[in-house]
Amino acid sequence: MAKRVGLEVSVAVGDAAKLADVDVVAAYPITPQTHIVEHLAELVANGELRAAYIPVESEHSAMSACLGASAVGARTFTATASQGLELMHEVLYVASALRLPIVMAVVNRALSAPISIWCDHSDAMAVRDSGWIQMFVENGQEAVDNVICAFRIGEDRRVLLPVMIHLDGFSLSHVIEPIILPEQSEVARFLPPYDPPLPLDPEKPVTVGAFAPPFIYTEVKWAQEMTLEGAKEVILECWREFANTFGRHYSPVESYRTEGAKVLLMTMGSLSETAMVAVDKMRDEGKEVGLIKLRLWRPFPFAELRQAVRDAEVLIVLDRALSFGGPGGPVCSEVKAALYREARRPEVVGFVGGLGGRDISMADFEEMVNQGIKLAEAGSEREFEIFGVRE
């Protein structure tokens, strides 16, 4: 049986890629992603992982090299953050459209300018529509488990899509947590070798990524959309199988102490752990407050979300990114859209906070709940509220 050990989350993420027995890692360093890829470079150098580690000259090259490796049928992993993810941008769309199941850990960090190395979700939100399966994890164990699941989901013949695992920079990536690393043999049973349907192979030549005139482009894009939507079933199946094998359960939308809750908070990423403690405290004080944690971001879990919030009166959504000039945080506006057709739905209040590493404490969550209730009752002319800003 695998033991629980104290590990830096970044190192554990690297170990998870190793357990998945990746063939190729191409990466360019960027804070706070560095420890993941440095660990993989070390595992390759000391022979613990039989893979090619390509220390490329930029993230654009990193994702391009991953794309090439995946196209010949290699199991491929990389990690990045912030500006690095932005520099990969055009390649991300090609990777998903070419149906290449690359797995990438994104260690979330704010975008420039001004330069910030600290966490928010502006990097993730900028690649929202890139066609990748995307999930947010809240702790190290979730990160490890879902890196392993990501390969199984992405490589499934019904899916064949790349997967991003988002984990918060520093507040998650650099902390040491008790983590169970599954045994290599268990992972090997859970995750069969990658068997690409159409690898680049001189014996059986295929044309990849060629020109699509208007008469076919829409069909190609629609097929991609149907596949990404359909991937949810495979994700659920994978998580069920994971629970059966390893005993840890994951779901697209997770509810915490929501029984009878009139007010629900909604978070993504590592702040969910703080929010849980805040909810415990408010519950102890007799307040009917619960927490919804959104794990699966793409494909968006419409049905699960509607189900999870249907009995609440107020839903307070925290976004760690701005959509400049738009309807508020991207998560909140998607939640509102998802609830639009519901006959019964909570009043949705959106907060944007935790930008560029600004901490959100337990007390802040309580404050958000208090403000949120008032705003829900009185209404607001603004589309969203910015939390804790100094005027």
């Binding site: 360093p29 804070t31 930029s58």
Partner: protein
Amino acid sequence: MVRELEKYLRPGIGVTTYCPGCGEAILMGLILRAIDELGLNMDDMLFVSGIGCAAWIPSPYFNADTLHTLHGRTIAFATGAKLANPKLKVMVISGDGDLADIGGNHLIHGARRNIDLTVICANNMNYGMTGGQVCSTTPVGAVTMTTHQGNPFPPFDLCRLVRAAGAVYVARYAVTQPLPLIRSIKKALQTEGFSFIEALTPCPVQFGRRNKLGKPAEMLKSLMARCVMKERAEKLSPEELKDKIITGEFTDGRD
């Protein structure tokens, strides 16, 4: 850096972010010395830097216009600024990783177009800021956080690269050669067209430690011993040149 040069720093700057013993902090002083000796007015200057320890040399410290932007795009930003306001004296100060790896394409195209920029590339043979990973200038065999068994790839000769791309002034000096380096920076600033100086600078914390190169003072000493001037190098045998770094001016636009 000596006190009299502090007038070039933004008021209120007490300490820099450089690690103790970092060569890039020496380079900072040498650049200011060159500016001082030329009597340039900081108000006429723009310093453009990318991302990395070296990119912090001008920003936020220099009391002039500074543009601290994205990793790798330095020369492209500087090109835009120079062409839109040719009166500006534009100096690019950034690291080897920034200018030659992620920004390598801009470097060769900036040189090819012969944009009037003075480019100072701090070569510390690794990505210092992100914790010491392999760079396109890392020597073969060097241990970094991404080459634990030693770097298998040969490094760029940046001066040859930039010269071949069309730069009019190209030189290499180490921070252990302060007088020639100051002279070279002055010359580059006075040269019209794309001038490029590769400034060798020890990174004791990320590169030195891992390669057992000793304390900062020892790194400086061995850098001093390894650097030979081009003119002297011409008289040395390949055997004698082993492990040596050839420094000097490789072109001053007259050849």
